[in-house]
Amino acid sequence: MAKLDASSFSDIQGFVLSSYAGNMPCANYLLLKITELGLCRQWLSQLTSLITTGTDRKTDFSLNIAFTAPALQQLGLTAKELQSFSAPFQEGMSTPLRQQLLGDNGNSIPGNWSWGNPENPVDILLLLFASGEEQLAAQLLLLETGISNSGGVALIKSLAAGRQPDAEEHFGFLDGIGQPVIEGTGREQKQLSRTGHATVVKAGEFILGYENEMLKPDPLPEGFNRADFGLNGTYLVFRQLEQHVNEFWNYLDKTTRDASGVSSRAAQEKLGAKIVGRWKSGTPLTNHPHTDPVVPPVVNQDNNFSFAAKDDAGFGCPIGAHIRRTNPRDSLFNDPEVSLRTVKRHRIIRRGRSYGDRSANVYINDGKERGLHFICLNSNIERQFEFIQQSWANNPSFDALNNETDPLIGQRNEGNVFSIQGCPARTRIHNLPEFVTTKGGAYFFMPGIAALKKIATGA
């Protein structure tokens, strides 16, 4: 089987290889519905030349595109061909099965979503990135005009993203530090110099048509009578996650009050850090268990740590902390080697950006929606995104914990707790509210450039 190398980059959409965060801090996502097939194809054909590839070195703006299963069906894939796609992609994110598996309960039920559920389905996702606000507005206007003049597609929703690299998410913590390096992309050194650590993962875990960590390819989707239609494509998971910033900080406040009813900012930030597994600056608790050595807004992208040797018992980063659940590194099964090998098969590439205004006062509910447009890329939605969500983040028995879920993003069960391991014994905090609510979402397929041309021409 072919290994990924630079010769394929021109067939891979740029977004798979880069977040564009460096030179394109502004972004907007457009969710579309196909209204007339012929005109939609016409519009797509014109658009195809604008789609950014992995070899384009653009500095002004980038545009990428992905499709849901119903879109591919309308655009000409046969039922049999669609069956070659990943099962969750075929069925969609909002089915009762997926809802249970992803933990979209309570306020997060798909019935409440503003898009991606049966009431508000979407077909096509456009991801637009630009070097500045003006550039973004100009490109957005062009795109939207094109869409409304096309007669083939209709704009369902336009989702604005917050300006990067203000990568701090709304709760106040530096985000987007740990990221696997795709083998064959030559980004190892870059990651190493940014975070002091690089995990190189087989290209097939993120780009279809290549060897994955089991040295086998994940199923290659078929389309337009071609067995290699899916080559250089990937699955894109999009979830709009509202963050309840004031609930988070008020919970920290309430929980850290001493006997006289007083809480300190330092105590709150420490509890927040225990929940996340990193201090606000990004510094990992495993390396700095007691205090944050860096004062925000200075950031610390240190990712050079593992749990087994230094923090096995969770005295630094709690066993159930967000970053430990979503990337347990070498901490599972009392066997660092097996753990690392297993964990490598459940990685995702995160490409999300936050949305909404920053809270002026994190304790006050200003009634405005803010959160994260969570986007991730993977070759096997079940083994990667859904596994992390189900078997790690929302698993009440994760690593022998009792009735806990991810303290930051988890759904809540009755009587839920969060254990903070320590000497001589753990403390527990109780009845955590849901700090995050799912507001929309869908599974998309992001095709390679050749496949995109097939979709656009319908043959």
């Binding site: 089991m214 028995s397 527990r428």
Partner: protein, 413 residues
């Protein structure tokens, strides 16, 4: 307490299969309070399930899986004591059963003992599991209260443990804190080890002494393997959805699967030999893991009718994580077993490749899985590891520990 793992397998009267399914659905819809099978009253029971196997070649049959404490007779007495009517109604749908007076004899006569089985928490009775859980919850609550007024750092490990012990001695029922018997007696631990050594020695001697035959066997095996045709289609989405609908409601999940053994005596006897070896290894594993997998409560394999392999497993967590555990940690063993059945991914030398082909293996596993029509677990929020930890808390709660062991013990909370 020794645990017993077995199934009761009976042929279903084809005319009554619909009403049997209806009855099982009623039981499943209310596991705890249904009038037919009051599971929570069965204090000896760990896990139980009902599965129907239906294929065109054979008559349909009913598989009643039982994982319980003690011997069969006392378990059946308890079962029939609480559920005679329900069991009677179930087996009225099966051939060869006539009246309630013969129920115990009928069930006993249809017992199928596994060719190989695994128990995650050896020697821990269902009642102990539940008591240990209760003790842990009481102590957790006590610690929460204590730390609500004083910070943990105010205590040394020894002081904290003393406080806990005092609380146990004065406030907790001795039924929850008195010492537990060891997981296994000395003889129970020793005998399988002796057996294993004897069998391995014998197998080694024979393999060398009969070297030409060993070579012939390997040649014959490779000939078979090259002629095998693995399944390559993905499992049907509707079938998988059907299975998934019943999964992930509690900490554990259930997997029941039936695979056809590859035709001919070669594969049948090879499978029997592999299962014999697997059973020997499982009997001598002392860490509660099956080939390194820490998440299986009870699992077993039975060869049925010399042409089918039944596998039943009660495991922690999601199906995907279970299958990944299998692939990451036990692919040799499970390939050695299932490569003797039809459709398994391409295998070399009995144990190589096979399950390491993740996607085909998962498709195979889903394809062979049959719905668990009834499935009951006596402790729906406990993993194998939880049971171990709870047990360790209980075993050492009132003993004398060194400071170092005290620190370790406190980490169990």
């Amino acid at each position: 307490m020794k645990q017993t793992v077995l199934t009761i397998i009976t042929e279903i009267d084809p005319l009554k299969i619909a009403s049997l399914k209806e009855l099982l659905a009623k039981i499943q819809s209310d596991l705890y309070h249904n009038p037919y099978l009051p599971f929570p009253s069965l204090t000896l029971l760990h896990f139980a399930s009902f599965v129907i196997v239906q294929n065109s070649a054979d008559a349909p049959f009913l598989i009643f899986e039982n994982n319980f404490d003690g011997d069969l007779s006392s378990y059946l007495d308890q079962l029939l004591g609480f559920a005679e009517n329900g069991i009677d109604q179930i087996y009225k749908c099966c051939k060869g059963y006539h009246q309630p007076q013969q129920l115990k004899a009928f069930l006993t006569a249809n017992v199928v003992k596994p060719n190989a089985y695994h128990i995650g928490n050896v020697g821990r009775a269902a009642k102990d599991v539940s008591n240990n859980r209760q003790l842990r919850i009481i102590l957790e609550t006590y610690l929460d209260k204590l730390f609500g007024t004083t910070k943990p750092e105010a205590y040394t490990s020894n002081q904290l443990r003393k406080n806990l012990q005092e609380y146990v001695n004065t406030q907790v029922s001795p039924a929850l804190s008195q010492p537990l018997p060891p997981h296994q007696t000395f003889a129970e631990k020793l005998m399988p080890q002796v057996w294993k050594i004897l069998v391995l020695a014998l197998a080694g001697v024979l393999a060398i002494a009969l070297f030409p035959i060993t070579l012939g066997f390997i040649y014959w095996l490779r000939r078979h393997e090259r002629a095998d045709r693995p399944y390559t289609d993905p499992a049907s989405l509707a079938h998988v959805d059907d299975l998934m609908k019943t999964e992930n409601f509690i900490t554990q999940n259930h997997l029941a699967s039936i695979t056809a053994i590859k035709p001919g005596p070669f594969r049948l006897y090879l499978l029997k030999a592999v299962l014999f070896a697997a059973n020997l290894l499982a009997r001598t594993s002392n860490k509660g893991t099956l080939s390194g997998i820490p998440s299986i409560h009870f699992a077993h394999w039975s060869i049925i009718g010399n042409n089918q392999l039944l596998f039943l497993s009660n495991f922690d967590g999601s199906w995907s994580s279970y299958l990944d555990d299998f692939i990451d940690k036990a692919s040799t063993g499970l390939t050695g077993i299932w490569s003797n059945t039809v459709g398994f991914p391409e295998t070399r030398f009995l144990v190589l490749d096979g399950a390491r082909d993740e996607l085909h293996f998962k498709a195979f596993a889903r394809g062979m899985q049959v719905p668990s029509l009834v499935w009951y677990c006596a402790y729906p929020d406990l993993t194998v590891q939880h049971i171990d930890k709870d047990s360790a808390i209980r075993e050492e709660v009132l003993t004398n520990l060194s400071e170092e062991d005290t620190k370790k013990w406190l980490k169990l909370f």
